[in-house]
Symmetry: C2
Subunit: 203 residues, 2 copies
Amino acid sequence: MTQPTPIVDFVPARYGKAIPVSAGQTLTIISKEGSQVLDLWALGRDDPMEYMSMEHTRSKNSKVMLSVGDSYVSIRRRPMFTVVEDTSPGIHDTLLCACNSAIYEESGCTEYHRNCSDNFHEALAEIGVQFPFTPGPLNVFMNIPIEEDHTIRRLPPATKPGDYIKLRADMDLVAVISACPQDISVINGAEKTPRDVHYVVEG
Amino acid sequence: MTQPTPIVDFVPARYGKAIPVSAGQTLTIISKEGSQVLDLWALGRDDPMEYMSMEHTRSKNSKVMLSVGDSYVSIRRRPMFTVVEDTSPGIHDTLLCACNSAIYEESGCTEYHRNCSDNFHEALAEIGVQFPFTPGPLNVFMNIPIEEDHTIRRLPPATKPGDYIKLRADMDLVAVISACPQDISVINGAEKTPRDVHYVVEG
């Protein structure tokens, strides 16, 4: 059987995109410039309300940050994405909400600022899916260390240009990627410049 | 103006309960035996879809665990519950999902085991509210330390009998408490015996 041609594409800086990934396929997410973070969600294709959940993932793995071989799970504790390769330092945040309008208002924005939460719903609307809320995302490449006093810090990504993470879909799902529009903090690097997010679906 | 009489009541072991708390009132949750943990949720009374969110709370406070003076916030980053007093060691987990059927199946249960997730929906159904999913709860008194290698541990509560936490409602809300039915791990103490959760609403 011939493998289907890989899909090589990108999510434009500051925008979101829904990407179907079938069971057994891999989604590789590439940090081309080494500075961009992205929010990743996954919904079951049969039942979108079976969504990838960071609180269930932490519980199932007994970890706040996963490594190669570990699986991000759904609210039914079923594997959705398994990490099969990661050339980055392996720093991916499971703790923080997607950025939203309220965050940018707090940061002093007086006009609408694009944000990952709206990108999630916008991307799903493009494929005709309405979702009743914004699940806590996997913040890929986002560098949020936890200190001993329980505080967290927001640092630029530790990735270098070309780093990638490869995730295997464990069920048919719809992935949603938001190329984070954050340009006020250093979450997207010291240059505070949102970039495209490159990805490959194959297998 | 006379203050209304405080409501002194309890949530039976293994069950959930929805408790209206108005802006300015306090909800005091007491660990009578020092061993019981509980899952706590809050929904806005005007708009239940404005719910208390652990991922927004961590983001807003830049902390994974809050202290006296800090506020648990909604998805709009508005304070919902502020910690005004805490006689316990201040260990309350924001990381883990509510226990659900899938967890007890993994633990070997072959018959239905009561769980915090179902308790949340059962308690809301009693007041005529349907909610489309189970938000990540605040796990009051739950002792989940994070190790340097990103793993988490599940320890018995560090509370002593009579310890309490007092939360001030910052808006009119419905709190939901689930007296956690976990009797397989030591999350509810070495005796693995679920207990009632006592509470007071006053002010």
